[in-house]
């Protein structure tokens, strides 16, 4: 039998060793982790710069590798499981993605862009998420609005839709749009009247193109968010788009966000692609870039 005293001694010993362990840990923790001692936004930490391996053989080389990818490498482990920090970050990133999908692009944002707003055939967010077919359509009343408010048959029609990430639009659409307009103006290409489509999916651009008959249609739309970012935006373009054209006629530039192609740079690139489309009278797989 172990006496009570002995047990007390063992406990004291264990507590003692834990205390020294605690003292050692702050020096090992990365600066990013230290800044997060209090409750704070885990997603604010740049994963590409955070290395959780406690004693890497070559920290510099590891960080260089990390800088090339948003993938969760170098996150260490507790036994076979991820560290609490990694798990929480994973869930936080998932929450960011959900927020991006379920939130709405604000009316203020649309106003600040100087655009008017139209809505697809979806009634609300749930309707939009459960009925992809309706996100591709606009009703007759909306078509009439478009006809009334927009310039007919411009060379290029640019518009914005929320798609699956409102965050992406609120973060990137303004810079990309301004940059596209500057680029097109530099090439001497006129554009139509811009607007915002709520609850919009990509193929709505075909319907809109048939109404407004531009040569090239350019759509900025929020991408389905992933765990790397909720801010990624895509640009879909097509030459003389119609509801009967094949999907292969669409040209797409994806991954527009600060960790991918910055919005302003993407906009400048898009302007050059539109110019090429007008020259070649083609888009998608037919376009030679």
């Amino acid at each position: 039998m172990i006496s009570e005293d002995k047990i007390k001694n063992i406990i004291a010993e264990v507590l003692g060793s834990m205390a020294t362990g605690d003292q050692a840990s702050p020096s090992q923790a990365s600066p990013a982790a230290e800044a997060c001692e209090e409750l704070c936004d885990l997603t604010a930490v740049d994963l590409k710069k955070e290395l959780q391996v406690p004693e890497p053989a070559n920290r510099e080389a590891y960080l260089k590798m990390k800088a090339t990818t948003p993938a969760r490498i170098g996150i260490w482990r507790a036994g076979p499981r991820p560290l609490t920090r990694s798990l929480l970050r994973f869930r936080a990133d998932h929450a960011v993605a959900q927020d991006a999908v379920f939130s709405n692009v604000s009316d203020e944002f649309v106003e600040s862009m100087g655009m008017f707003q139209i809505t697809s055939c979806c009634k609300d967010k749930d309707h939009f998420l459960t009925r992809p077919d309706l996100g591709r359509k606009i009703d007759d009343e909306t078509i009439a609005t478009l006809k009334e408010k927009c310039k007919q048959s411009p060379r290029v029609q640019v518009y914005i839709a929320d798609g699956l990430s409102s965050t992406a639009i609120e973060t990137n659409a303004k810079d990309a749009y301004s940059s596209i307009l500057q680029g097109l103006k530099g090439h001497g290409i006129e554009t139509g009247t811009p607007f915002f489509l709520k609850y919009g999916r990509v193929p709505a651009m075909d319907v809109i193109s048939e109404v407004l008959t531009p040569e090239v249609t350019v759509l900025l739309i929020g991408e389905r968010p992933g765990l790397a970012t909720g801010e990624s935006m895509s640009c879909y373009m097509a030459y003389k788009a119609s509801t009967t054209m094949p999907e292969a006629n669409r040209t797409v530039i994806s991954n527009i966000h600060k960790g991918g192609t910055p919005a302003v740079e993407a906009g400048a690139h898009i302007a050059d692609i539109v110019k090429t489309m007008l020259e070649q009278k083609a888009s998608g797989l037919d376009l030679k870039l």
Binding site: Q182, A263, D272
Partner: protein
Amino acid sequence: MKETVLSAGIDIGTSTTQLVFSKISLENMASMMSVPRIQIVDKEVVYRSDIHFTPLVSKIEIDARAVRTIVEQEYAKAGVTPDQVQTGAVIITGETARKQNASEVLSMLSGLAGEFVVATAGPSLEGIIAGKGANAQQESKKRGATIANLDIGGGTTNIAVFNNGEVIDTACLDIGGRLIRFSGDNSKVAYCSDKMGCLTRSMGLDADEGTPISHGAIEAISQRMAGILEEVVGVVPATGELATMVTDKDLKRDYAIDYITFSGGVADCITTNCDGNDFEFNDLGRFLGRAIAKSRIFTEKQVLESAETIRATVVGAGSHTTDISGSTVTFNDDALPVQNVPILKLSEEDEAKPLETWGRTIAEKVEWFRLKEEHQTPALAFKGFDDISFEGIQLLASAIIQGMASVMNDKVPLIVVVECDLAKVLGQTLKAQLDFKKDVICIDTVKVENGDYIDIGQGLAGGKVVPVIVKTLLFGY
């Protein structure tokens, strides 16, 4: 859509002149759905010339006409015409670089070496180029290690130290296989460089021209030379003689070297068994090679095999000097190529200040630059921002135009080099703000430093990217 570019490398060294042609393959590595990302995916040396002795008309003068003849013959043998060569580098290296008629040689070669081939020299750059040719740079990146490459030629030893693929230190020493040469029957000294004279005198040996020299003395001198190399890489403590033999600067030796590689003509005698006539070239190259193989560098450090030995510099010049810009950039093909454009880079502190102040900062720097270099127009370089708004770009462009105002009337394009991916929008903005009246070259994903010079070639891969050669002088001063 792979595209290949033919690159020439010509190395006119103290002892030898060589030429290589390399094929550099470019490919768009991004998915069809992304902004293109053109990268160099392969470099292959497709032709290696014979190794010629560098023709000299006197001890200090290169025979430019004879060099041209050699190069012309090698072009013919390779079946390459100058107009096929899209990029590359001519470098005049080693002691030869200090000789007086380097520029004459370069002008003699200019028509031959294609549109884009350029001239560079300087011991630091040579060491870096040789280190890349010997594969030390790539290996240091692969292993995540620090590797020092010692390029031991006829006249100099150029050292470049790479850590995780980046140059961290360079040095140049007057240690080479042909710094002492012998008479036809190898009984007397036919030539001894001044520095070698100092070294032999410190050993109590006389190696002046015309003095008889014994086999034993040659061995002893070679061992002392190998000893200097032991000192420079830090396996034995440095002596006063190391300082004497340093040409421009010593290594810092405040970091640990994990591996050593050897290149240059002498390297062949280190790693392979050089049997046969020790005096084939009437010099001490083979003795030096053997002495290095027996030195403490081999016992104290791990020596890696290098990809190239005597051809490291020329392969480096042909295959590893050209890089490419980012894939969304702004340029007019008729404004290119541009060569030897000095870099004026903003410091980190400058960049941390608000954009509104940049105009003044740039203007001050340009003015200061002009005081030193009256007739040159610098390219403006800075790191830039990953996350910048359209308004930010507008502010940035007007600051650049304001800052560069004093050189805006120069009859050269406005050149801006940034690290972050924003050259297309910045270039378009600059053009728009300048009413499309001035040529603008704006490239990104290129890292330069103050004191560097840059060459930019004509567009490749359907005009998406431009080839870029950054000539680093930084480590030399």
